[in-house]
């Protein structure tokens, strides 16, 4: 699992660095031939990277003692995490924000968490 993440992360880094040839997509290799230094990740790659980062944050939140992840919604966009949904106790919000902020790859955190307990 981690290795998969790492290799995927590496692929993103390589493509960011303009070494797009390794992604084995013909058109990208051509693009990097034309402008090797200005290659940007394709929309699809950016979307995958966002999804991967959101998933990493979610699994990190699930491991922190005292956080109930059930109704937390994590959305990532270019390193910015938006936290939506709810936690059952107000005290958990700062734990969630701190854990999200500490996740590698996260640059900023927008907190829109609300409080809603089980059965509410």
């Amino acid at each position: 699992m981690n290795r998969k993440h790492m290799s995927a992360g590496l692929a993103v880094l390589l493509s960011l660095a303009g070494i797009g040839g390794v992604s084995a997509q013909g058109n990208e290799a051509v693009a990097s031939d034309v402008a090797p230094s200005s290659a940007v990740p394709s929309a699809r790659e950016a979307r995958l990277a966002n999804r991967r980062l959101a998933k990493t944050v979610r699994s990190r939140l699930a491991k922190v003692k005292g956080i109930d992840v059930l109704n937390i919604v994590v959305v990532a966009k270019n390193g910015t995490i938006t936290l939506g949904g709810s936690v059952p106790e107000a005290g958990q919000i700062e734990l969630v924000v701190a854990a999200a902020r500490d996740t590698p790859g996260v640059e900023a955190v927008n907190n829109a968490l609300r409080v809603k307990a089980a059965g509410q």
């Binding site: 966002n50 999804r51 959101a54 998933k55 944050v57 979610r58 699994s59 990190r60 939140l61 699930a62 491991k63 003692k65 992840v69 059930l70 109704n71 937390i72 919604v73 994590v74 959305v75 990532a76 938006t82 939506g84 949904g85 927008n110 829109a112 609300r114 409080v115 809603k116 089980a118 059965g119 509410q120």
Partner: protein, 358 residues
């Protein structure tokens, strides 16, 4: 003499000890609650004896969340041990009476709990692990309008929702896993079986994938048989389901069986999705198919959808629609409040309201 002296010393030391922990201990009490009310419409209705009574326009209580107020508190006892308590009353916003509870003053929750790193031990009136799993697996947040709680209350009323005389133990989360067991004493002199109830649940959640299963077994009778709203319906319940979160989208599916003594034995398959379009706008939808194992001619299909607009952290505007189709003797309703039961054929309903949490 020496002994007495050392005992006195110890008492002094203890006294100091108790005092110092008191000085450090943080304790607090919070008043909290929900007021939720809205306009309700249904194309058809039935009265208590099952006769059709036509269209209905009404102001209803609790369209999105059960209206309630409560007091909860925590004291840090030191050494990683905390004492929590919760006293919660279900209120009816349309007439000021009781609702969403067993009908008593603190008829939703009335418990105290010892919380530590090795788990939580809770005593008193509480949600059973079975009911809490229903909450975990519902795609629409278990709103009283058009969700799996309509089936729950239709089958077993308040049993396991407000579970009286109960003691439960919940483990800490370990590798994403959490288990909970509950036992409720019947309390009848000379009859250990009467009103005895137990429930257990097991949940796995890694932040993306959710899996949960739970059981409930309860006998009729016992001391809790006197609650104004029935909470000792004799039944055996089984539930299993799961969910997955993809960014803004969460999908869930579940299977629940309610084997009720002397009544229908319903299987309910449900599923749905919840989409947080922006942090302020949530849309969700669910569908539930129910079938009576004793006679499969009795079946129903309930579908519902809702939109929540979070006006602020505390106030939500909501709109919900539901449609139910009943066959045979099945009387699945649209909403716990206003239309818990509907007659044969298709009924359509909607609710628009406001929820404020404090």
């Amino acid at each position: 003499m020496l002994k007495r002296k050392s005992a006195a010393h110890m008492a002094t030391a203890l006294g100091v000890c108790v005092c110092s922990t008191h000085a450090e201990a943080q304790s607090n009490v919070t008043l909290y609650g929900i007021v939720d009310s809205g306009f309700f419409y249904s194309s058809k209705s039935i009265d208590s004896s099952g006769n059709r009574t036509g269209k209905k326009f009404a102001l209803i209580d609790s369209g999105l969340s059960p209206s309630q107020f409560g007091l909860k508190g925590t004291e840090d006892l030191g050494g990683g041990l905390k004492l929590d308590f919760d006293l919660e009353s279900g209120i009816n916003m349309t007439n000021g009476g009781y609702n969403s509870s067993n009908g008593n003053f603190f008829g939703r929750q009335a418990w105290m709990q010892l919380r530590s790193d090795i788990g939580n031990l809770k005593m008193g009136l509480q949600f059973s692990p079975f009911f809490l799993t229903l909450y975990d697996l519902d795609p629409r947040g278990l709103a009283p309008f058009g969700t799996s709680v309509v089936h729950y209350i239709d089958n077993v009323v308040g049993t396991g929702l407000a579970n009286a005389n109960a003691i439960s133990y919940t483990t800490p989360v370990m590798a994403g896993l959490q288990a909970s067991v509950m036992y409720a004493f019947g309390g009848s002199p000379g009859d250990f079986q009467a009103g005895q109830q137990y429930s257990a649940s097991l949940k796995y959640d890694n932040g993306s994938l959710l899996l949960a299963a739970s059981i409930y077994n309860g006998n009729a009778g016992g001391t809790a048989a006197s609650t104004p709203v029935p909470t000792t319906v004799e039944f055996a319940g089984r539930m299993i389901g799961g969910g997955y979160r993809f960014g803004k989208l969460t999908v869930k599916a579940s299977y629940t069986s309610y084997k009720v003594a002397g009544a229908m034995s319903n299987n309910v398959w449900g599923g749905g999705a919840d989409f947080l379009a922006t942090p302020e706008i949530d849309v969700n939808a669910g569908v539930w198919y129910a079938s009576d194992r004793n006679n499969t001619a009795n079946h129903s299909l309930l579908g519902s959808a809702g939109i929540n607009y979070y006006l602020s952290k505390a106030t939500t505007l909501y709109g919900q629609v539901a449609v139910v189709n009943n066959h045979g003797a099945m009387t699945t309703g649209l909403s716990v409040n206003g239309a818990l039961k509907e007659g044969a054929g298709t009924s359509v309903g909607g609710a628009i309201g406001v929820r404020h949490m404090f």
